[in-house]
Symmetry: C2
Subunit: 491 residues, 2 copies
């Protein structure tokens, strides 16, 4: 017997439960879809097939769900499917949640011991003509890019040794190389990190093995043309902590905030460790190496960013310290330096999920795009938004040169998910194109894909779905050339 999710108020939550798979052909549109948008917007997030075993579990335990908006000739189709992980299939067969709390196998049902427990709910990746759903606790799960059917675990022809794979790999836009890593690479609570370079054909070319100063969540990283940059913040775990039945992560305020800097063509011995002030950089925007300086831009918080991961010292969750703002870190690559310089670029615009024009990854760039919360514009009273995270009501274009912030406000009944930049054409100048992202329209109980002119930051069209879709964590734009397709019904 399935439990009514509504009784636990998942309906207005981050990772609300929709529990269905759907297709919309030739979606309804307000305005006009620009005909030069030709490709697929893939989104990955979580959707509980069954409720978690524990009320205090993290939303990050929700089952992976992949969806796409496919654009061609001014039309758009929508499709959404669960990622059919072994965990999903086991739960479905049993008719209930068999798995314990977030990334801790201690409370799993005995029937699923030894089964891969990833939910594959974080990021879509397109590389070398393949589509994957990613979650940092496992290898990529390959997905059919057209049907969104799950093909299964992918190990790069047996050449990928880490048991895990980051949810934030970086594709070098010039070489087509995929730079990625796995942490807890040799098993739960191990401090092994394996870093890989995979060529544009999907062949593993390099592996570097690092030992980390402590076992922590290495959620994102950045690459410049020359370097790999990994923020190491103290959201930590250990075998003892897990054996005690705890949720995977806890915040340890006594540990330093490190950043590892490593040449892309270097070995483990070449890694340099920098230390910064307390905080976390869960996500990054971009990195650039210029002479003797490395610059990393990222949304950074001053403390534990996640309310569902406890503070080890017992301190209550501090929403102010959890809030991220876009900061610029400068690393001196000369001898002896072991700290970085931090500048808070846009303190007025708190947000956590930022993106750039992906054609400028690892290269000098000008614009970042991020959903942020303008607290002066509250929700319409009664809007049923309930989440561990403040709702984003604006998309900003952050000019990293002039520090100008250009804003799109979605209105007082909607919340915005992570945005994605779509270049007008392959060779368009940086920032010339569209910004797309899903809004949850609460009173209408539906989702709407907003499409902005990314220069004017004004809405040009809105795709109206007839239902609400599950919340995205991350998305990616796949130009038509990268994954060609046929639109259903097109003659």
């Amino acid at each position: 017997m399935v439990q009514r999710f509504g009784d636990r108020d998942f309906a207005s939550n981050f990772f609300t439960t929709l529990r269905f798979e759907g297709d919309v052909l030739d979606c309804e549109v307000e305005g006009k879809i620009p005909e030069d948008i030709h490709g697929t917007f893939y989104r990955v997030g979580g959707d509980w097939l069954y409720p978690p075993k524990f009320d205090h579990d993290s939303a990050f335990s929700a089952d992976g769900y992949i969806s796409m908006f496919r654009f061609a000739n001014g039309r758009v189709d929508y499709k959404g499917r669960f990622v059919r992980t072994p965990r999903f299939e086991a739960n479905l067969a049993a008719g209930r949640q068999l798995f314990g709390i977030y990334r801790n196998r201690a409370a799993d049902d005995p029937s699923v011991r030894g089964l891969n427990s990833t939910v594959s709910n974080t990021t879509p990746l397109v590389h070398a003509g393949r589509l994957f759903a990613l979650k940092e606790d496992a290898r990529p799960w390959e997905i059919d890019p057209h049907t969104l059917e799950t093909r299964g675990e992918w190990d790069f022809h047996g050449k990928y040794s880490s048991l895990t794979f980051t949810a934030h790999p970086k594709v070098d836009p010039v070489t087509g190389e995929l730079v990625c890593f796995g942490y807890e690479a040799t098993g739960e609570a191990s401090n092994d990190v394996f870093i890989y370079t995979i060529d544009k054909h999907g062949e593993v070319k390099r592996e570097v093995r690092l030992k980390m100063p402590y076992v922590s969540e290495l959620h994102d990283f950045a690459i410049s043309r020359e370097h790999i940059v990994i923020p190491v913040y103290p959201l930590v775990t250990s075998k003892e902590w897990l054996e005690a039945g705890n949720i995977h992560w806890a915040w340890d305020d006594t540990l330093p905030f490190y950043t590892a800097v490593l040449p892309r063509d270097g070995d483990a011995k070449d890694v340099r460790w920098y230390r910064g002030s307390k905080g976390a950089a869960v996500h990054t925007l971009n990195a650039v190496t210029e002479g003797n300086r490395l610059v990393l831009d990222a949304p950074v918080s001053d403390g534990n960013p996640f309310p569902f991961f406890p503070n080890k010292d017992g301190a209550p969750f501090d929403p102010q310290k959890a809030m991220s703002t876009i900061r610029r870190w400068t690393f001196d690559l000369g001898p002896n330096a072991d700290t970085w310089h931090e500048e808070n670029l846009f303190p007025q615009a708190p947000g956590a999920l930022g993106r750039i024009d992906d054609r400028f990854i690892a290269r000098p760039y000008r614009y970042a795009y991020m959903g942020y919360t303008d607290a002066s514009r509250p929700f319409e009273p009664g809007t049923p938004y309930k989440s561990a995270f403040p709702a984003a009501n604006c998309y900003g274009r952050f000019d990293m040169q002039t520090r100008e912030l250009r804003t799109y406000y979605v209105g007082k009944t909607c919340a915005l998910q992570e945005c994605c930049f779509v270049p007008r054409s392959k060779d368009a100048p940086e920032g010339d194109g569209y910004l797309i992202g899903v809004a949850t329209n609460f009173p209408e109980k539906r989702s709407e894909l907003v499409i902005l002119d990314a220069q004017r930051m004004e809405e040009v069209a809105r795709v109206i779905l007839p239902f609400r879709i599950s919340d995205q964590v991350h998305g990616t734009w796949a130009p038509y050339e990268d994954l060609p397709f046929q639109m259903p019904g097109k003659s």
Copy 2:
């Protein structure tokens, strides 16, 4: 560019536009699904992929949509798909509605001349291991019973000559024979009716060709063990009427209401024509021949039942005359009789879509089941129900022997669609089982399948979908034995 349907207020309508295809695995349930329900509830209705060309078009022009609730082991899965008719595919390719008003090709786009224009939106049929979606203007469209993918037009191995096939064929529960017919059998506005008997293996065994007194909507009929009974009410058409660009049907109050009675093993020469008072029997419940008498039970109206089909004399639509109540007609099979006797059995319970325990088709029976409108229980003010038809808020069990009416009331924010009887087991006594049917829950913008104990007429469980589904016209219950399946996720 797709037009926003919401602007035309399809959202609260009969045949509301949902425009999507969906799957729900292991649906959420209130209460407990009885474990002895093992089989599939198929539903067919309409869902506009694109808005109609004409605002005054009939909802019956909406694209066919087939859905199923699949029950096993106390669980239920839901699936819904458009019927991929040639018309659907042509519209989808063009990105707009290419077809004119209801069953009139005059206003079709020239690009679709000659293309079959059925929308296949009326009734699911399970026979000889196959599933079909039916619409009376075309032959059956075969559907994969598990994926609900459309296989295409079915002509019974080339042995079915009529161009059309009724949406209300009858399966004899003892012989397994399918008795059916097509009207306008040789082309639009023809008065040819071809009647078929198809054996339990799906082989055409008999064809009888009749000429009707006028060309009219022959929507339903009934069979007894010995007879075929066809009500012929004056919702008429003609070549001239269609060439003038009109909607297919108009009500002609000057014409008589006939009923044709024909022995199941007879020929065209054996047909007898009876005449009754003004009215229409769009649907039937059952027929029984006992000695020299034939009894037909049916919901019957006193006039034109459809507001979107005009009165030929220009009279305004009369909702009172459109309302059906369950009546019993008795036909004297002796020589000379040419009228029938009518008795109004349940005048207090107006409704149009009645069903029986299908194991008693053509046999003496006791119970009918029908959604009806209890006008003393209005909607909660503000409920956005908008339809040409009054909303059913009750399911009734009509005891045709004692005249007792036992009622289930769904509450003041829901509307009920046609119900379906599910026997507790193959050999359970008549009426021992469940009554199932979909309720639209307007404030929650979702659909719910209610499951009643069919004897007590009390709710035992409710399947909660996370979205609204398109309105059903008719449904059918396929016991597991008739179409075996594997439930997704069951080990």
